[in-house]
Amino acid sequence: MQQYTETEIINGLKTMDRDILQYIVEEYYPSVYYFVRNNRGREEDAEDIFQDTMVVIFDKIRDGDFDLKCSLKTFIYAVSRNIWLKRLIYSSRRKQRLFSETDDFMVEECPSAAELDEDEKKFLFQRNFLKLNEVCRMILELFLEQKSYQYISDRFDLGGVQSARKKKYRCLQSLIRFIKNDPEYKRMIQL
């Protein structure tokens, strides 16, 4: 496999270069996988956490807010670890106590769990949006782009404005249902 420098990887993330994304998965995902699996997580959790992490990094790069004070590998690992430990903390009071007792062992120069608070809801929404079928995703995207119902109807051959409106409503309902059934949402609601 071809090797890339951290600068090349960061630039590749900006442009969503498929080869670079593949390289990131091969190079950085295993350590996140083993950490999550060793800390009561499933493979699906590890994949979710890795996606959340890459979204955090991508957003930071795009907003010009990406300040790398450690290696990229450590950074990715630290963000993933913080997201996962935070979920564990919320799911168990006992773990919260233990975690707070060991806070001083955290890697200080890398992102803290507190920084990730705001992103939690975003991860929840993104994750569930991607559970929708392709048509629903596109309809909601067009709706948010303020395209007319007539345009949406023509694009998907829905047979009129009313049908397009109903379809959008059903897609939004499905999204809300997915979100409500997400264990993370249930956890957030209880806070």
Binding site: K73, E101, R127
Partner: protein
């Protein structure tokens, strides 16, 4: 976070400017008075902003597809073994041979010769060989495991492999809490014990024969943490 599902049609109409002047005013007044509604609306607008951020969604979608592909590739060879009857039979035979081999060892090797074998194997290993050097990322993983439960064993080389005569440091939080430490050999015999509760950090010289050992941190009622380390000459 508040429940966004109850009023999202109203939220959407407000967001899109589809409410009449009176409806809009009433909704804004209600939000001023109702913190829960205000928070739910704020979450709803975040949802819409998230869905509008196509780049970020695209990034997640790309990684999701790559990770799914990776998972399928990793499991497909295992699945292919069991889909093919000949390879399934070969795998079963292999497992059977391994099982019989280990049963044979357990049934016919007496305890004394097992001890000698384990001791001989441990002492004959070249622990300085590069294969046994603990990689930094795994050392880090090990520490995190310890951190997550509040107990730590610190060794001079920051690894699980320690030399005879070196000093191990056991620590836990809160350190004032008195606990007992036991070190057990591979047969489960306690070879070192503090006997009485001690406060942390606790230092223990490694006065053991080469081999693999378990350490246990406990109070009078239960074991709180287990770990493993290797003593080498």
């Amino acid at each position: 976070m508040k429940d966004i599902s109850k009023q999202y049609e109203l939220f959407l109409s407000y967001y899109n400017g589809e409410l009449t002047g009176n409806e809009r005013a009433a909704f804004e007044k209600e939000m001023e008075e109702n913190e829960e509604l205000k928070e739910a609306f704020s979450d709803f607008t975040l949802l819409l902003r998230t869905l509008k951020d196509k780049e970020s969604l695209e990034m997640r979608r790309e990684f999701k597809s790559l990770l799914e592909k990776r998972r399928k590739n990793n499991t497909s060879w295992i699945r292919s073994i069991f889909l093919n009857p000949w390879s399934a039979a070969a795998a079963a035979l292999f497992v059977l041979i391994i099982a019989v081999y280990f049963l044979y060892i357990n049934l016919f090797n007496d305890e004394g010769s097992q001890d000698q074998r384990i001791m001989a194997e441990t002492t004959s290993i070249d622990w300085n060989h590069p294969d046994f050097q603990v990689l930094p990322e795994y050392t880090e993983l090990l520490k995190i495991e310890y951190r997550s439960v509040g107990f730590m064993l610190l060794s001079p080389h920051d690894s699980l492999v320690m030399h005879k005569g070196e000093e191990m440091k056991f620590s836990w939080k809160p350190s004032k809490k008195k606990l007992m430490i036991d070190i057990l050999d591979h047969q489960g015999n306690t070879v070192i014990s503090t006997d009485e509760p001690v406060s942390g950090p606790y230092f223990q010289p490694l006065i053991l024969e080469p081999g693999a050992y378990l350490f246990r941190i406990r109070d009078h009622e239960e074991s709180l943490h287990w770990g493993i380390f290797f003593c080498v000459p």
